[in-house]
């Protein structure tokens, strides 16, 4: 049975490190893994999506509508944008940070309100938290990605905390290790 994790956010928020960590960990756990990334134009502050799939044998590198077991979102609006990709019994782990897209900045449209509640009304299980505050508590606003991974780890009963921590050690430069381990634990709560 293939499991699907979709990581969504704004270009430049550090989703590539999150998918690197997941891919590394899941491969070590013995799964077949595929990770699909976005490079190039879309990275310049645009909406970015990374797909992580794992199981006995994974074919497609992408996740389609109605297939995601988890949507991990670095930003609130992006979670709502990709809600349609969530399985009926899937879960959204979302950073409540709001980053205005250019149409909002220019005043063409406004940032939608009450998105968490609206997603819940559609039947989604939403785990929302202020990851930016926790990342800053850990020592850097850039650690939002690892805070989110900490939160996601709570939903993986079969993978121990030690294994996650070991994977972080293997994916993060030594000088940022302590900060990232702290961010992970703050996210895990």
């Amino acid at each position: 049975m293939t499991k699907n994790i979709m990581i969504v956010g704004v270009g430049g928020q550090g989703s590539l490190l999150a998918s690197k960590l997941l891919g590394h960990l899941l491969l070590k756990e013995g799964y077949d893994v595929k990770v699909s990334e976005v490079h190039g134009m879309s990275q310049r502050g645009g909406s970015v999506v990374t797909y992580v799939r794992f199981g006995d044998k994974v074919y497609s590198p992408i996740i389609d509508k109605g297939q995601a077991d988890f949507i991990v979102s670095f930003e609130k609006l992006e979670a709502a944008r990709y809600l349609e990709y969530l399985k009926p019994d899937g879960r959204i782990v979302v950073n409540t940070q709001e980053i205005d897209p250019m149409p909002v900045i220019t005043g063409a449209v406004s940032y939608p309100e009450n998105l968490i509640e609206k997603m819940e009304e559609k039947g989604a299980a939403v785990d929302a938290m202020d990851c930016l505050a926790l990342a800053e508590e850990a020592g850097s606003s850039k650690a939002v990605n690892i805070v989110l991974m900490g939160r996601l780890s709570k939903y993986f009963d079969n993978i121990s905390l030690e294994k996650w921590q070991k994977a972080i050690e293997e994916c993060v430069p030594p000088k940022f290790l302590e900060l990232n381990q702290k961010a992970f634990l703050l996210g895990r709560g």
């Binding site: 491969l27 990770v35 699909s36 490079h39 074919y59 109605g66 297939q67 992006e78």
Partner: protein, 576 residues
């Protein structure tokens, strides 16, 4: 060792393991990482060439010298390299020669959606198409054998989903074959008519032999399942088809897409009740099958444009797909934008204020076309800004010269802008050209180029002096301006538009994302002085918004460039 690898990284691994000695490429999404990853192996000489034509000719030269070589590019890059490609097909190789061309269905980062298999067919060059990272590595290795066995360059066609997906690869050791000596052989290597005439029938014969090879080669395979449905497919579409049908269909997976087999396809078709061709972009496998007289479905069900996915294939073939819930309201779009502190912004603001017609080019600065700047009128292909402005100005007999400019990046200028400038200097149009010199190839993720002074490994290298080059080409008016200085930009643009001869403005400041560029402290808003006039918002900087009638600076994004403070008449935006 089993590793999770990006398709492009796995491709580079295959080059390494097969003993590739020389790599020359031009960056282009989604092909760039093949060369970047190859450059991490000290055993391989790697370089960024000024454009794809040069790159392929460098790789050809290395092949001529008897070494295994490689050249990588995106789909539109193969148009630039088509000239050497078509004739290298005639000469054949000495050391094996592989060309990677990466298509971009869905146009994640491209200006068109062309299907590179047309070049493969027209140039009569065998072409392989991997469907995941393991195949990217394996095909790269086998392609060298194929190249040397059949005396031909080999194209490996990637696509965005194979190039930019990670999957598991089993790595092996590097094995370098003995270099082949270079031997003078005019009949093989001098493609003057007398020799080329003799070569063409050999190329046709090679295609016949390659077609026989394709009938029973390691790249094509049949996976039998339920015979009610037979699918012929390749590349990432194979993965989607397997995802949807598993063993509920028979699949002929083609890893070699030029030339296509005949008997293999006919035998496969005879075993299944219904035949469907699943391929992205153009109906190339489909047309081949129709020529074989087969009855089938293909583009009658599936689109010619865009990327496919498992759900899309399932729906089109009548398989139920999962449904998700979406919110009732439309979410605001989040298009890519120029970064906070991007040096291009000040120049585009100036061009907008001067109501210029702006003929654009390919790079990050294409984002100058987006609201609120909307400062670009045309983007066609690499280098087209300079050639087009000449035609635009000639056609309008001087009426548009005073308000029309061409903008082009430093890397794109060297790629194919120089020849357009030569035409402006030679055939004398009063054109104003702006080179947006951010000292790097930006959009593809910071590759060095001939104007930066560094090579692919970041070591010091030759450096083209743009001012001297432009003057040597016959342009007398050459100005350099800092795009963070709006008053200077405005003055220089006005003066050069008014001049009665061709001119080049070099708008110079390094990309703000470069590691050596140090950010200044974020600006601060003096809320007493801010009147909420939104003048600063006209820049389209993602670090500025207005909340409760006051400007707000996002301190995580602002790099303190200070361009916005030059627009504030009330002195509300202050250095941090």
């Amino acid at each position: 060792m089993k590793l999770l690898m990006l398709g492009n990284k796995a491709f580079a691994r295959g080059l390494y393991e097969a003993g590739c000695m020389v790599v020359s490429s031009y960056p282009g999404t989604p092909s760039t990482e093949v060369t970047e990853e190859a450059a991490k192996y000290d055993e391989i000489y790697c370089e960024w060439a000024p454009n794809e034509k040069v790159a392929l000719e460098v790789a050809f030269g290395a092949s001529l010298a008897g070494r295994r070589s490689f050249c990588g590019m995106k789909h539109v890059g193969l148009n630039v390299a088509a000239d050497p490609l078509y004739t290298a097909s005639y000469t054949g190789v000495n050391g094996g020669l592989i060309i990677c061309v990466a298509d971009d269905p869905g146009m994640h980062s491209s200006q068109n959606e062309q299907d590179s298999r047309h070049h493969a067919i027209a140039s009569k060059v065998p072409t392989l198409e991997p469907s995941d990272s393991a195949e990217a590595c394996e095909f790269a290795k086998k392609a060298y054998e194929l190249s040397e066995q059949f005396d031909t360059p080999v194209i490996i066609k990637m696509c965005t989903r194979v190039a930019h997906s990670q999957s598991v690869v089993d790595t092996a050791e590097r094995v370098v074959p003995d270099p082949k000596p270079y031997e003078k052989n005019p009949a093989k290597y001098i493609m003057a008519p007398a020799n080329a005439i003799k070569k063409h029938p050999l190329v046709e014969d090679r295609m016949r032999r390659l077609t026989e090879y394709a009938e029973d080669c390691p790249f094509n395979r049949v996976e039998m399942g339920d015979t009610k449905l037979g699918i012929i497919t390749s590349s990432t579409c194979y993965q989607y088809a397997k995802e949807v049908f598993g063993d509920k269909a028979c699949i002929l997976k083609l890893g070699m897409v030029n030339p296509l087999p005949k008997k293999l396809i006919l035998d496969f078709a005879a075993k299944v009740e219904k035949l469907v061709i699943i391929e992205e972009l153009d109906p190339i496998i489909e047309n081949h099958c129709r020529q074989l007289g087969l009855t089938l479905s293909g583009k009658d069900l599936l689109p010619m444009e865009g990327e496919f996915s498992q759900n899309m294939i399932a729906e089109k073939l009548g398989v139920e797909v999962p449904k998700g819930n979406s919110l009732d309201e439309q979410m605001p779009g989040r298009p890519p934008v120029m970064c906070a502190g991007c040096p291009h912004r000040g120049m585009f603001y100036t061009l907008k204020q001067n109501k210029c017609t702006v003929l654009g080019d390919i790079g990050c600065y294409t984002l100058g076309s987006a609201p609120p700047l909307t400062a670009i009128d045309m983007v066609l292909c690499m280098g087209a800004s300079l050639s087009s402005i000449h035609g635009f100005n000639k056609a309008t007999a001087g009426q548009c010269e005073g308000k029309t400019v061409a903008v082009i990046g430093d890397s794109t200028f060297v790629h194919s802008g120089m020849t357009g400038l030569a035409n402006i200097a030679y055939n004398q149009s009063n054109s104003t050209v702006i080179i947006l010199d951010n000292s790097i190839t930006g959009m593809t993720g910071h590759q060095q180029n001939p104007t930066t002074g560094y090579n692919i490994k970041g070591d010091p290298a030759g450096k083209i002096d743009l001012e001297a080059l432009v003057r040597a080409m016959g342009i007398n008016r050459v100005r350099v301006v800092d795009p963070y200085d709006l008053a200077a930009c405005d003055q220089v643009v006005k003066e050069e538009l008014a001049a009665s001869e061709p001119s080049v403005i070099i708008s110079r400041r390094p990309c703000v994302l470069l590691k050596y560029v140090k950010a200044a402290p974020p600006l601060k808003v003096d809320c007493e002085k801010c009147v909420g006039c939104k003048s600063c918002m006209r820049l389209g900087c993602p670090a500025i918004s207005v909340k409760n009638r006051k400007a707000v600076i996002d301190t995580t994004l602002c790099v303190g460039c200070g361009v916005c403070s030059q627009l504030c008449k009330f002195g509300a935006l202050q250095k941090g």
